[in-house]
C-alpha cells in the first residue's frame, strides 16, 4: 500500500501499454488449443498408429474430455491472472509532490521507490520501431540524484505525455521553492 502525505494528490498513474499482454494472450490461446490439436493428430489417418492405440486414445478423450480440458483451462486461467497481476501492479504514480515507482517482481517480491521532483536530473523517452511509434508507447527512463539505479518503466502508454507532465510538475515545484 502506498501511503500518501496529507495534501498529496495523484495526478497520473502510468502503466505499461495493454498491448504487452497480447503475446501472453496469444500463447494462452495456443496452449488452450493444444489438447484438441494433439487429439486431432493422434486420430488422424495419416499417422501410422496401431488401431488399438487409436481406439484407446478415442475412448480416453471421450471419457475424460470435460474433466481434463476444464482442468487444463483452469491452469491456463490462473497463469493468465498471474501475468495480469504482474502487469496491473507494475506502475508509476505521479503525484503533485513526487513520483512513486512500484515494481512487482512476482507475487511476494515488490519494490517501491519514491523520489521528489527536485531529485530528477534527466528524463528520456525511448520509442523503438513502427508498432511503438504508431500505438504511442515506449520506455521512460528517469535519472535521479539520490538513487544508484536508473528508474525505468518499459512499454509505458503515452510516454511523451508523462514526460511533459513530469517536467511541468518539476517546474512548478521549483517555483514553489
Amino acid at each position: 500500500m502506498i501511503k500518501f502525505e496529507p495534501g498529496e494528490e495523484i495526478i497520473k498513474v502510468v502503466r505499461r501499454h495493454y498491448l504487452v499482454m497480447i503475446p501472453v494472450i496469444l500463447m494462452i490461446l495456443v496452449l488452450a488449443m493444444l489438447p484438441l490439436t494433439i487429439y486431432a493428430i493422434l486420430i488422424a489417418d495419416f499417422l501410422p498408429l496401431d488401431p488399438s492405440i487409436k481406439n484407446f486414445v478415442e475412448d480416453f478423450f471421450v471419457r475424460w474430455k470435460s474433466f481434463g480440458y476444464s482442468v487444463w483451462l483452469l491452469l491456463l486461467w490462473i497463469f493468465f491472472f498471474i501475468e495480469w497481476t504482474d502487469y496491473y501492479l507494475d506502475l508509476w504514480v505521479i503525484t503533485n509532490r513526487r513520483i512513486v515507482d512500484v515494481e512487482q517482481k512476482g507475487f511476494f517480491h515488490r519494490e517501491v521507490t519514491s523520489f521528489s521532483f527536485g531529485q530528477i536530473q534527466d528524463i528520456t523517452v525511448e520509442t523503438h520501431g513502427l508498432v511503438e511509434t504508431l500505438l504511442k508507447f515506449g520506455t521512460l527512463h528517469i535519472q535521479t540524484a539520490g538513487h544508484n539505479r536508473e528508474i525505468v518503466i518499459r512499454d509505458a502508454h503515452h510516454p511523451e505525455k508523462a514526460r511533459s507532465l513530469i517536467l511541468e510538475l518539476q517546474q512548478k515545484s521549483k517555483e514553489v521553492q
Binding site: M1, I2, R63, W64, K65, S66, F67, G68, S70, V71, L73, L74, L75, W77, I78, F81, I82, W84, T85, Y88, L89, V102, Q104, F107, R110
Partner: protein, 73 residues
C-alpha cells in the same frame, strides 16, 4: 512387507485419480484466489476495474471447476 511391495498393492481407479486431481485443483484455485485478492485489494488501490476482475476471475474459475466436477461422474 517392503515399501515397494506396499506401493504395488495400492490400486487407483481412474475415477479416484481424477477426484484427487480435482481436489488438488480446487485447493490450488482457492489458495491462488486468496493471494490474488490480497494483492489486488492491498496494492491495486481498489476501483471498479478490480471489482469486475474479481467477479470475472471467480465466475470463470468456479464454472471450470463445476465442469471438471461433473466430468468425473
Amino acid at each position: 512387507m517392503d515399501f515397494f511391495g506396499f506401493i504395488s498393492k495400492i490400486s487407483f481407479s481412474s475415477e479416484s485419480f481424477a477426484s484427487l486431481v480435482f481436489f488438488v485443483m480446487a485447493a490450488l484455485t482457492a489458495i491462488v484466489s486468496v493471494i490474488f485478492f490480497f494483492h489486488w485489494r492491498k496494492y491495486g488501490m481498489g476501483g471498479i476495474i478490480l471489482a469486475i476482475t474479481e467477479l470475472v476471475y471467480l465466475g470463470v474459475a468456479a464454472t471450470l471447476l463445476g465442469v471438471a466436477f461433473f466430468g468425473i461422474n
